[in-house]
């Protein structure tokens, strides 16, 4: 399905009673099977945007619309969280099956589906472990498997690898691209990391800092399947430089302000 975000705005009232505009007239689309990254400095409301698209937060104005053919019982979105958000009392397999339970699938089908996505995310042999018995990278694999298992129209990822160490993150990025090739789903990927965005996405939506507005949508002209060798290609460097140029001053402002 195609995701259309249309003139979406979100404002909060802060403690002193002032209206704070977090998102201002956001418009973007995610085509079927497309990988779109949303990138912006801290405090640009990218997580807010993702939460609104997931239906976990009401927008102040504007719409999020899903358009196209929807398989019966298919959820519109599934989310991969930055802090994993795995249920500590559930084993890896039971975590993967959570969304399937809520979809009302019979146990046999849950088992079959969870096994498929456990295999796809490289979790075989770890199904019976509890989250605290898994490394950060493995935990996020469970998070990805849990989200993919419900077969969402679009997979939402909220800085999924930012809680991981640098080496694990690099490996997980490649892993995710591989999974995406196999699962053939559309992905909306929120990050503040330019390399990450350019390396993985077809298009990068660059947001400005408070209020969050779309500064520019930067297309990435890198061939697929992608691999680490492309990190030095001129298409990669050009896109990365273009994005850095767009947000550098805003990132500096965020730095001075200290907290997002």
């Amino acid at each position: 399905m195609r995701v259309i975000v249309d003139r979406l705005s979100k404002s909060y009232r802060d403690r002193s009673g002032q209206d704070l505009v977090a998102l201002d007239g956001i418009g973007l689309t995610v085509e079927p099977e497309e990988f779109v990254a949303i990138l912006g400095p801290s405090g640009c409301g990218k997580s807010t945007l993702l939460n609104i698209i997931a239906g976990l937060l009401p927008a102040t104005s504007g719409d999020v619309v899903f358009e196209g053919e929807r398989r019966p019982g298919q959820p519109l979105t599934a989310t991969v969280f930055q802090e994993f958000a795995l249920f500590p009392w559930r084993t890896a397999r039971a975590n993967v099956e959570f969304g399937l339970e809520e979809l009302g699938l019979p146990p046999a089908e849950r088992k079959e589906r969870s096994a498929r996505f456990i295999a796809m995310t490289g979790l075989e042999g770890f199904e019976s472990r509890f989250p605290h018995q898994l490394s950060g990278g493995m935990r996020q694999r469970v998070g990805i498997a849990r989200a993919l298992a419900v077969d969402p129209a679009v997979l939402l990822m909220d800085e999924p690898f930012s809680a991981l160490d640098a080496q694990t993150r690099t490996l997980m990025m490649e892993e995710l691209l591989g999974i995406w090739e196999r699962a053939r789903t559309s992905i909306l990927y929120v990050t503040h990391n330019i390399q990450e965005a350019v390396y993985m996405a077809d298009r990068v939506v660059v947001l400005s800092r408070r209020p969050g507005r779309v500064l520019e949508v930067v297309p990435v002209e890198l061939k697929r399947p992608r691999h680490e060798g492309q990190l030095g290609e001129s298409a990669f460097l050009l896109a990365a430089e273009r994005i850095w140029g767009l947000i550098k001053s805003q990132a500096q402002a965020a730095l001075v302000e200290g907290k997002s």
Binding site: F87, W89, E102, F130, H132
Partner: protein, 265 residues
């Protein structure tokens, strides 16, 4: 200046704590032996404090005659019934007040107002309502267990990680699914803390209720033995009570390990 060679010494050695398992056993055994010795040489009259071996002998005799079982069974029945009823009600009220804002608005002030009442003070009232028989004793225990359970469960529910709740909703969970699959397991550690707290309160109220209005039970046994100055029998009752306390705590700990496996493995 002459070059120096300094080996690093473990300066934190005095902070490390050893287990001293032998010392633990020795302390307990030593106390019992001292007690036995003091009573045997007649330093302490048996009327004030019977010897440990004497208590043990009496315990054996009372068990053999079936006299002890009658009291233990009566107490156990009251304890288990009251504890189960109070714990169940406490968990339900705790979850309701923790999750539903309306239930919180109604329940919080009521609980805050009635919680400080010493429950044993309600026994006469409960006897008036329910009669002098078993229900009033079970009810006073249930009341005593209810409050720590409700308060602990409430705190456990409030402490549930909002991220996990959001994740559950993101995967399609509704209200009841969230309660059953996120709130309840999140609150389990606090619920078990409440159960342990409640077990202590239950034992206290059991003994008090049996001393006030009963003709059976360990509390009655202790009071009655005291009245006829049968100190050995009295001590048997106290030993039973402490065993009951230790046993209930141990069982709850075992049960917790089974119910909350993600915390212990």
């Amino acid at each position: 200046m002459a070059p120096e060679r300094v080996a690093v010494r473990d300066r934190a050695a005095f902070l490390r704590r050893a287990d001293h398992r032998l010392l633990r056993v020795a302390a307990l055994a030593g106390l019992l032996m001292l007690w036995e010795a003091l009573t045997r040489i007649g330093f302490i009259p048996a009327l004030f404090l019977p010897s440990p071996l004497g208590v043990l002998r009496e315990l054996g005799e009372m068990t053999a005659s079936g006299q002890l079982m009658v009291h233990v069974a009566a107490s156990l029945r009251r304890l288990v019934l009251g504890f189960a009823a109070g714990a169940l009600a406490g968990v339900i009220v705790g979850i309701a007040t923790g999750f539903f804002s309306r239930a919180e608005a109604v329940g919080q002030p009521l609980i805050a107002a009635t919680f400080p009442i010493p429950k044993i003070a309600l026994l006469p009232l409960l006897i008036l309502w329910l009669g002098i028989g078993e229900p009033s004793k079970v009810a006073v225990i249930a009341l005593g267990v209810f409050f720590p359970m409700a308060i602990n469960t409430y705190a456990g529910v409030r402490e549930a990680d909002p991220l996990l709740v959001r994740a559950a909703v993101a995967f399609g969970a509704g209200r009841w699914s969230v309660i059953r699959k996120v709130i309840l397991p999140s609150a389990l550690p606090m619920i078990f803390a409440g159960l342990k707290l409640g077990a202590g309160t239950a034992l206290l109220l059991l003994v008090a209720a049996e001393m006030i209005a009963a003709d059976s039970g360990i509390g009655f046994l202790v009071l009655h033995a005291g009245n006829i100055m049968d100190t050995t029998k009295l001590m048997v009752g106290i030993v039973c009570l402490s065993l009951l306390g230790v046993l209930s705590h141990w069982m709850l700990a075992r049960f917790e390990r089974l119910a909350v496996p993600w915390r212990h493995t």
